[in-house]
């Protein structure tokens, strides 16, 4: 007891130091985890985006779709549905094999497919983002790639935003996704995608400042010279 009392101040200081070291260790581990998750989400965002870019670059016109044996009734050959500023489905006709060579002598001989990118809501799942005093809540979706009505790929359920816009020849501005069928003389398609990171927890007040980094975003504009 005498020894403890003699070194009470030192013991208190040592306890505080051990506590600080433990907290630093936890923050360090969390930071490393966030960095890894950030890179993974970034990779997932780019994967689906590059696939979509390739599919859009191979988009076929209505006449080409018909020549390729795809039914264009109901406008399915190129259409979107939306809710607010979020595109829910984007359907169009593209090459079955994105890297298939085109026979210049018989361009309509290349196999075509109807591809649909669609957002599927993850029931009850959402992610919150702190913006100062305001908390934004985003519902979470999966973005599925459906070929000829069969799901051939999908993202993890962390998509928070997806938007597709069209631009016509001679018109610089893009029209919003409320457009239900692709406009005539479509020359450019723009899309934006945002995915949230999984597992970010707030354990200190200063983490509010980096909440904007808990998302990964990608946007792209694809020219369609084929449609000119």
């Amino acid at each position: 007891m005498q020894v403890i009392l003699d070194h009470l101040a030192a013991l208190i200081i040592v306890s505080v130091l051990v506590l600080i070291f433990a907290l630093l260790q936890v923050r360090g581990v969390q930071s490393a985890s966030e960095t890894t998750v950030n890179a993974m989400v970034r990779g997932a965002t780019l994967d689906i985006s590059f696939m979509l870019e390739k599919d859009i670059a191979n988009m076929r016109t209505e006449a080409q779709a018909t020549a390729g044996g795809i039914s264009t009734s109901g406008g399915l050959w190129c259409s979107t549905t939306a809710s607010g500023d979020t595109t829910l489905t984007f359907s169009f006709v593209t090459l079955s094999d994105p890297y298939a060579p085109i026979d210049a002598a018989n361009p309509d001989s290349t196999a075509l497919s109807l591809v649909e990118y669609r957002l599927v809501r993850e029931p009850g799942a959402s992610v919150s983002r702190q913006m100062g005093a305001v908390t934004q809540t985003h519902p979470l979706y999966r973005l599925e790639r459906v070929i000829d009505f069969v799901v051939t790929g999908q993202t993890q359920p962390y998509v928070t935003f997806f938007d597709v816009e069209f631009a016509q020849r001679g018109i610089a501005a893009f029209t919003p996704t409320s457009t239900t069928t692709c406009p005539t003389e479509l020359t450019r398609v723009r899309f934006q995608l945002q995915m949230a990171q999984e597992g970010i927890e707030r354990i200190a007040a200063d983490q509010l400042s980096n909440s904007q980094l808990n998302f990964s975003r990608y946007g792209s504009t694809i020219d369609l010279p084929n449609w000119e």
Binding site: I13, G28, S31, S220
Partner: protein, 177 residues
């Protein structure tokens, strides 16, 4: 006295480790932010260049629907920029590609997936010599290919007080098509 000195020493070590840790976390966040900024700048550059490419190849080609391979009447590179009836800094008044030459837009607020990024963009337009595409042709040179170079910078200083170039992208536009 001895204990006090030891305690101070320990505090000094903890403070140093803590500051290094905070610096490390800050650097990771900064890297993530720059990556997002680069994605936004790339998206902006792609979007703007595709719009610029949709303008007429030259003032002499505005409204012309047929192919004209004679380039004697094209604007010389020294005269690139806004022409009469067009307003510098107002792309809405432009009608051909080289009107963008020298344009600097310092008020861009680009939106990508509901997030806004303050950017600054500057444009350079020049002819391309098909026989030496990597070189910058002399002032009087004309051809049927122009290249538009768009440089996107951060509008806020984030690198020790310096504005940082985050995207430089170009597009070649031909009058052949």
């Amino acid at each position: 006295m001895q204990q006090t000195l030891l305690a101070l020493g320990a505090l000094l070590i903890v403070t140093t480790i803590s500051m290094n840790q905070q610096r490390s976390i800050f650097m990771l966040q900064r890297t993530a932010y720059l990556r997002e900024l680069e994605a936004a700048a790339s998206d902006y550059a792609q979007l703007r260049l595709s719009e610029v490419a949709s303008f007429a190849f030259d003032e002499a080609r505005v409204g012309m629907a047929t192919l004209n391979t004679d380039f004697a009447d094209l604007t010389s590179s020294g005269a690139f920029g806004v022409e009469s009836g067009e307003t510098a800094g107002a792309p809405a008044t432009f009608d051909d590609i080289d009107d963008f030459h020298g344009l600097v837009d310092s008020t861009i607020t680009h939106t990508l997936s509901n997030e806004t990024y303050p950017l600054r963009a500057s444009y350079t337009v020049q002819y391309v010599d098909p026989t030496a595409p990597g070189s910058v042709p002399s002032g009087g040179f004309k051809s049927l290919i122009k290249v538009v170079i768009l440089t996107v910078e951060t509008r806020e200083a984030i690198d020790a007080g310096y504005v940082r170039i985050i995207e430089r992208r170009s597009i070649a536009v031909s009058d052949y098509v």
